[in-house]
Symmetry: D2
Subunit: 348 residues, 4 copies
C-alpha cells in the first residue's frame, strides 16, 4: 500500500459521465483525483454544481490545459470532435488518455466521417488508440496510450452477442437491437425532450436506424465474427435515471440447440467478474446493475421461430461509461481489474 496512487485528472468533470468518474474515483484505493476541469464552470467548486459531493470533492474546476501536466491519466468526457488535441497533449506529457467520447472508437476514418460529419485532424493519433471493452480486448488495453472507452449501447450489445458469434451459432442476417436507455444517457444539458413533465410517463424511440452507435456496434460484431455483420439499431428513451436494457434478436442456425448456446455463454463469462449470466428462465433487469459495473445477461429462446433473444443490462453511466473507464485504467496501470469497482448494486 506504500505504492503511490495514480494521479487522475478529469476533463469535462461536470457532465454526467464526469461526475460519475468523481463518484467512483473518490473511493478508489489506488487512484486519486488531482484535478478537475470544466469549460462551463471554470473557477467554481464542483460541489456547488453537485451538492451531493459537498465534503467529498470540493475541488475547484480548472482549465483543461492546466491539469494535464500534473496527471498520470486523463479522463476526457467531452462531446465528439474535441478529443484529439487533448490526446496529443497527454501523449507529450506521458499521460494516458482515456476518452469517454467517440473520437477514437472507430477504426476507419471513413466511418467516422460518415457518421460524425468530420475528418481526423491528427490521423496518426488513431494508431495509438485501443477500443477498450476489457472482456474482449484485455491484452491490447494493457499497453495502450490512448484508450477509446466504448459507447454505452455498444458495450451492452458486444457483451450480449460475443459468445454467440464466436461459437458460430447464428444464421446470417441482420441483427436487430432494440435498446432502452435511462435519461442520463442524454446528458446534463437541458432539452425539451428531457424536461421532467415531457419525459415522465412517456416512452418513445429516437434516431431509429441512424444512431451514431450503429457503426461502433457493427465494427465490434464484425471483428468477432471475422466477417461483416449488419445491425438495425433502435434506441428508446426510458423514464428512469440510469440503465440500459438491450433486447437483441438473432436467428440460430439449424441444428444449434439453445442449451448449447447457453452453455457457451456460461463458459465465456465464468471468470469475468463483471458479467453475470442469469439462470435460465430469469430476466436481466437494469435495476440489478444500477450504480455498479456489472453487465447482466439473460438468454431466451423462441423455439417456434428459432430466435435467440438476448437481454443485456448495464448501468449506462458505470459499465457504459465511468466504471468501464476505470476498469480500463486499472488494466492499463497493472492494478487488479476490479480495484475500486466493487460496488454492490442496491436492491432499490
Amino acid at each position: 500500500m506504500t505504492k503511490e496512487k495514480i494521479k487522475c485528472g478529469i476533463i469535462g468533470a461536470t457532465g454526467y459521465a464526469g461526475v460519475e468518474l468523481v463518484r467512483i474515483l473518490s473511493t478508489h484505493p489506488q487512484a486519486e483525483i488531482v484535478a478537475v476541469s470544466s469549460v462551463s464552470f471554470e473557477g467554481q467548486q464542483l460541489s456547488d454544481i453537485y451538492p451531493n459531493l459537498r465534503g467529498i470533492c470540493d475541488m475547484t474546476l480548472e482549465g483543461a490545459d492546466e491539469i494535464i501536466p500534473r496527471c498520470d491519466v486523463i479522463f476526457g468526457s467531452l462531446p465528439h470532435g474535441l478529443s484529439e488535441p487533448f490526446a496529443e497533449k497527454c501523449l507529450s506529457h506521458c499521460a494516458v488518455f482515456i476518452d469517454l467520447g467517440a473520437d477514437f472508437r472507430l477504426h476507419n476514418e471513413e466511418d467516422y466521417s460518415e457518421w460524425y460529419g468530420k475528418r481526423y485532424e491528427h490521423p496518426e493519433l488513431h494508431n495509438e488508440a485501443v477500443y477498450a471493452i476489457p472482456e474482449l480486448y484485455r491484452d491490447e488495453i494493457k499497453g495502450a496510450e490512448i484508450i477509446a472507452n466504448p459507447g454505452c449501447y455498444p458495450t451492452s450489445v458486444a457483451l450480449g452477442l460475443a459468445p454467440a458469434i464466436r461459437g458460430g451459432y447464428l444464421e446470417k442476417g441482420t441483427v436487430i437491437v432494440d435498446s432502452k436507455s435511462g435519461v442520463t444517457g442524454a446528458g446534463r444539458s437541458l432539452t425539451q425532450g428531457t424536461h421532467y413533465p415531457d419525459t415522465n410517463e412517456a416512452f418513445a424511440a429516437y434516431k431509429a436506424g441512424v444512431h451514431r452507435h450503429t457503426p461502433e456496434i457493427e465494427q465490434t460484431l464484425s471483428e468477432i465474427a471475422g466477417e461483416e455483420m449488419k445491425v438495425t439499431f433502435v434506441p428508446h428513451l426510458l423514464p428512469v435515471n440510469r440503465g440500459i436494457e438491450s433486447s437483441i434478436y438473432v436467428k440460430l442456425r439449424d441444428g444449434v440447440s439453445f442449451d448449447e448456446v447457453y452453455a457457451a455463454y456460461a463458459a465465456a463469462y465464468e471468470n469475468e467478474l463483471f458479467v453475470r449470466v442469469q439462470p435460465k428462465g430469469s430476466y436481466a433487469n437494469l435495476k440489478n446493475v444500477r450504480m455498479s459495473n456489472y453487465c447482466d445477461i439473460s438468454l431466451h429462446f423462441d423455439k417456434r421461430t428459432n430466435m435467440l433473444i438476448v437481454s443485456s443490462c448495464i448501468d449506462n453511466m458505470v459499465k457504459g461509461a465511468a466504471g468501464q473507464a476505470i476498469q480500463n485504467m486499472n488494466l492499463r496501470f497493472g492494478l487488479e481489474e476490479s480495484c475500486g469497482l466493487d460496488f454492490v448494486p442496491p436492491a432499490f
Copy 2:
C-alpha cells in the same frame, strides 16, 4: 337525444379495465352504467375502492348473475377461462357480451388449448364471436352478439402492420415485435414484480417468446396476409402507469421504397378517427395517447438493412381495453363510432 340510453353492466368492475370502463361510460352521452359487479368486493361501493370516483359512481357492487338481465350490453373484464358462462347467459337474455378477456379471441380451439391450457366448454358460442378491432373488422362487429375485444399488445401490432401487409411490401420472414407496457397492464392484483420499489427505476423483458398474445397477433397478421405469418414477440415492463409502445421490425421487399410504404399508411388511416400516422421524422410516443383512444403510428426506415421499423403506441387501458370495447359497443348499437370517446390526450 330522446332515444333511450344503452344500459351497460360491467362484470369485473374493480379490475383496472373495469374501472376504466366506468371512467369512460360515466360521461358517454348515449350509454349509462346500470350495474357493476365484482366477486372480491360485492356489497361495497365502487367509490370506496376507487375514491377518484366519489360522487361520480358510488354504485354498490353486485353479483354478476344479478346484473345481466337488466342490461343491453355486458362488458366482461375477467381472467381467462371464466367468460363462457357469462356469454351464454347474455345470449339467453338478448344482451350483447363484450369480452375484454381472452376466451373468444382465438378462432382455433387448438391454439386456445395450447396457449391457455384448457378447452372450450361451449364450442358453439365461439361461432357467435367476432374478433373486434374496428379499423380491421368493422362490418363483422356490427352484427355480433359476442364481441371478443382484442388484447392490448395485439391491437398495437395489428394496426401497426396492417397497411404494410396488405400492400404486399414485406419480405417473408419472422416479424419481430419488441413491446413495452405500462404497469397497469399487469393488473390490480398485488405481485412482487409490481411493488413500487421493485418496479420504479427498473426495466426488464418478461415472457420472451411465450406470451399468450403471440397466437392472437399471428392470427390477425396471417388473416390480413392471406398466409401464415410468424412473430417473435417480447414484452417488457415499463415504469409508467399507462401506455404501450411496440417497435416492430420487418424487412421490405427489394424494390419497395419507404415513400411508397409511408403513403400506403397515410391512405389506409386517412379516414380513421383513432389512428394518427405521424409525420415523417416524428416518433410516436405513448405520452401523446394516454387517456385517449388513439393509436399513434410512426414509420422509420433503416436503408442500410432495408428494415422498416414501425412504432405503434396506444393507451393499453383505452384503445387496448376499455376504449376499444366502447368503440365496439358504439358500432354494434349503431351509434357514431367515436361517441363518448372524444378524449383529448393530456400533454402531461
Copy 3:
C-alpha cells in the same frame, strides 16, 4: 343548443396552463377556441409543439393583438407583469379577460410591489378585477370584466381553510402550510431543477417563506376571517407531473371539537360540485383529482396537541389553473358552472 358558442382566445397557448385550456375547451359544449397565440412559436401549428393535439387542435399560433377582437373571452396565461395591456385591450373590445397570471390577484398595490417588484401601470384596471375562486366569490365573478384566476397553491389553501375560519374554530396564530406540487407547476421552460435526472428520485423545499403566493393566501384568509391572518408557506417540488397537496396546520380553540369542525366542512361543501370532503379516516390524495377540477379535502386531528390538519388536493393545472378559469368563464357567461368540466379523474 342553438345558442352560439362562446368564442375563446388563448394568449400564451403553448405554456402548460395554455395547453391545458386547449385540452379542456376542445370538448366544451358551449365554447370554442377561435384563436391561439404564442410569442415564442408564432406561425407554427400548436400540434407541432404538442403532438398530443394532432387532429384535435391544429390551429396556427398568431400574435396576441390580432386575436382579441375576434373573441368573447381571452384567457391570458403569461408571466407576471405582462397582463395589463391585454386586459385594457380586452375591455376596449368588450371581451372578458381571464388572467391566469398574477397581476390582478392582489388587491393592494403595495403588496404587489413588495412581492413582484413592480408597480401597476394602469391602476384603474385593477378596480375591474375580481379574485375568482368560485366557491368563495361566486357572485362577484358573475359580473366581472377582468377575472383574476387564483394561484394554484392559494386555491388549495383557501378551500382547505375557509370553513374552519368562517366557523371561528381556530386559535390565533400563524397558519403553517406545507405544500407539494407536481413539476408542471414550474412550467414548460427548461431549468436545471426540472431536468429529468435532477428531478426524478428527488424532493426538496424551495422558496421557503418567500414564495409569491404567500400574500395571496394571506389576503384570502384574512378576508374570510375579517382580520389579518399570517401564514408561513413552504412549497416543495414533487416528482409527479400534476397535482398539489397542501398540508395545513392550525390549532383549534379550546372547547371546539373535531366533530364540529368536520360537520362544518361537510355542510360548507355539500352543494359544491367540485369540492369533495373525504370520509373521516380517509386521506385526500392528489392521484384522485388528476385531470379533473376537483378539490379533495381530508381533515385530521391530533388530539394530543389540539391541532387540526387539513390535507387539500387539487390538480394544479385544472382546479389550480385552466379548469378553474373555465369554471369562472362558465359563471361569467351564465352557463352551468360545471359545463365542459365533467372530467372523471382516472384511477391511474
Copy 4:
C-alpha cells in the same frame, strides 16, 4: 489489518433494511457477514430473492436461532414485538444485539404500551438498551449490549432540531413536523398502497398525528430540551424509492436572530462526518443523500412570522436504518465511526 473481522448476523435479511445491511456490510473492511436469516425464505439463497446480489452474497437463509451463537453482533430487522427473545439470546451468547425495530426505543413502558399495544415481556432487558443516534448519544453507545437503532423519521427530526433546542432558541409550543418518505419505508410486503400504479403519480399524508414515531420523536426532543416537548407529526408517502425529507416548523424566541441559529448549527455539526449543514440559501434535497449515510440539513427563516424552517434529509434505508446501525456497530466495537460507510451519494 490482521485483526479479525467482526462476525455479523442478520435476522430478517430479506426485508428492505436487512438487504441494505447486506449491501453495506458486503464491502465493510472490518466486518463480515457470517449468516443471514429469514422466516419466509429459509433454505433459499439470498440472491434468488435479490438478484442484484448474485455473485456478491449467495448465502443460504437460515433459521434465526441457529445463527446467533456464531456471531459477534446480530442485526435484528423485524416487525415490532418480536425482538425481546433475540436480544435475550444475544446477551446469553455475548453477542451485541442491534435492533432496527422499535421494541427498545422507548424508555417508558407506558409509552410503548400506548403506541404499540403490548407490554414488555422482559422489562429487565430494556435497562441494557441504548437509544442510538451516534451524533447525540455517542458515549452511551460505546458500552451498550443492546442498541436500539432509531426510527427513520425520528433520526431526521432529532438531528434537524438538536442544535436549536440546545441553544434555547425556540419559543414554547407545538413543533410541527411534516415528513415525506420514499416507498421503501413501507417495506417489502405487498399492499395496495404500494402497488406501482397506485403509488406512482400519487401523493398523500397517512397516519396524521397517530404515527408510532411520534413518542420516539418527543422522547428525544424532550431529553435534549430538559423539559417536555410536544410534536404534531404528519408523514406522507412520496413516489421515490428512497429518502426522507422532514420540514420542521418552530418559532424562534423574540430577540433570537436567524444568523445566531445558523451559526449554532454550523458549530454543532462542524466535526460530524455525516451531517452536512447546507450553505444559507441552499435547500437540502433527499437526492443528495441517497445511498449514503449523510443527513443534509438546511435552515430557512420566515421573518414575517419569526418561523424557523428546518429541512432535514436522510436516506431512510441508510442513515434511517442500515447505515446508522453499522455506524453504531463501528462505535460499539471501537472501529472508526465511518468505517465501511464512505459511500458517495450519486448525483442521479
